[in-house]
């Protein structure tokens, strides 16, 4: 009997307790769903960047014998807004400097690049451009993507092509249209860093001593 007395209050407490919990749990469920969605969105935005950065870590050469000069973006017959060309150029300069693959990163026309040994010139030509719409992306999710496709070439001063790649940069979900240029520059920098650069002796045998000294 004692046990009955002990257990019954517990049982009576448990039953209303569960129903009492049910309604707050419904609120909590919706709140949790919102939190989960925010978390997923953040992962969607940040994880690719982190993965891309971590995948290129430690692959750069230690002495970094080459410097690079970034040429202005050539539209290549594609109707490209001036802001897009400028944004690609500026983002390329920024991302190439971040990778630390090159000893120095020069702007197009920079006179200081004239006397630098081991200079590569990065030429970017737009092959395809699909202007998108941020509003259309936000409303439809599947439409309105901004897409860029460029051909990048690393050439020596003599015009010898050292590397050539065709690279995409898109924005499909979150972000303004210019984010495509940021993604493109990031992809270009990652691709160049993954691809090994030739020894300078092959391209400039006469400058071997000077380059190695630096």
């Amino acid at each position: 009997m004692k046990t009955n007395k002990n257990t019954s209050p517990a049982a009576t407490k448990t039953t209303p307790g569960l129903s009492g919990f049910h309604r707050p749990n419904m609120h909590c469920g919706q709140f949790a769903a919102v939190i989960l969605l925010i978390g997923v969105l953040q992962l969607q935005v940040f994880v690719p960047t982190v993965l891309a950065e971590s995948s290129i870590d430690g692959k750069s050469g230690g002495n970094r014998p080459w410097s690079v000069q970034v040429d202005r973006v050539e539209p290549g017959g594609v109707v490209l807004g001036p802001s897009f060309g400028t944004a690609i150029y500026e983002n390329l300069l920024e991302d190439l400097a971040k990778t630390e693959q090159f000893k120095q990163v020069f702007r197009s026309g920079d006179r200081n690049a004239n006397d630098v040994p081991g200079l590569l010139i990065l030429k970017t030509t737009v092959q395809k451009y699909t202007p998108g719409s941020e509003t259309r992306r936000a409303v439809t999710t599947v439409g309105g993507a901004t897409k860029l496709n460029v051909r990048v070439r690393l050439v020596t001063r003599e015009g010898q092509v050292v590397q050539e790649h065709v690279i995409d940069g898109n924005v499909r979900f979150i972000g303004g249209n210019l984010r495509a240029t940021h993604n493109l520059a990031h992809n270009v920098a990652s691709t160049l860093k993954k691809s090994p650069l030739p020894e300078q002796t092959a391209a400039h045998p006469e400058k071997e001593t000077g380059n190695r000294a630096k």
Binding site: I38, G77, V78, V79, T86, D110, P131, E134, R136, G144
Partner: protein, 183 residues
């Protein structure tokens, strides 16, 4: 679908719409054009040396110099004589930033999409191409209120900025999806 969920959904949408209300109805309104020489409020999207991406501030023309100021202090400046070209484009952007984007994504029953349909605003995008003292090419992009771009461009040209006449371009492989929504 319970009435409880409907009530909460409607409340969520109301909050989102109230947040985006200032932008609704501004799409077709022309903002006041700046008086030449006075400061205009801009967002420096990228490219202006020493200025952070998406930094807001004032853009002024004074004594042959274009100056970008943030919180009253000069962040970056360039001699107007070194400007090689200036472009003004009209663009359309969603308002509200990241918080609004996340709110719209979290809105139930696709309510965020409805909000997105109205929560956008037209801007002018000013691209200024200039050379630094070593001859290096720079390009800076600013976001201005609609209607201010052309006025500021004229003010820069009046103060000695170079511009090249527009060249007719023939489209090759681009497939335009949406007109006038390049940003």
């Amino acid at each position: 679908m319970t009435s409880f969920q409907v009530r909460h959904g409607l409340a969520f949408l109301t909050v989102l719409l109230s947040l985006s209300a200032p932008s609704i109805g501004q799409n077709h309104s022309q903002s006041q054009s700046p008086v030449p020489g006075s400061a205009i409020h801009v967002t420096q999207i990228l490219g202006f040396e020493n200025a952070k991406h998406n930094a807001t501030g004032e853009l002024t023309i004074q004594g042959g110099i274009m100056r970008f100021q943030h919180d009253g202090s000069t962040v970056a400046q360039v001699s107007i004589g070194s400007i090689q070209d200036i472009f003004v484009e009209e663009g359309d952007k969603q308002v509200g930033g990241t918080a609004m984007t996340l709110g719209k994504a979290a809105a139930p029953y696709g309510g965020g999409r409805v909000v997105s349909l109205f929560a956008h605003k037209k801007y002018d995008f000013l691209t200024v191409e200039y050379l630094d003292n070593r001859g290096g090419f720079h390009g800076a992009i600013f976001q201005l209120e609609k209607g201010q771009g052309e006025t500021f461009k004229k003010a820069l040209v009046a103060n000695g900025a170079h511009i090249t006449p527009p060249v007719e371009q023939t489209p090759n492989q681009s497939t335009p999806e949406v007109k006038n929504e390049n940003k």
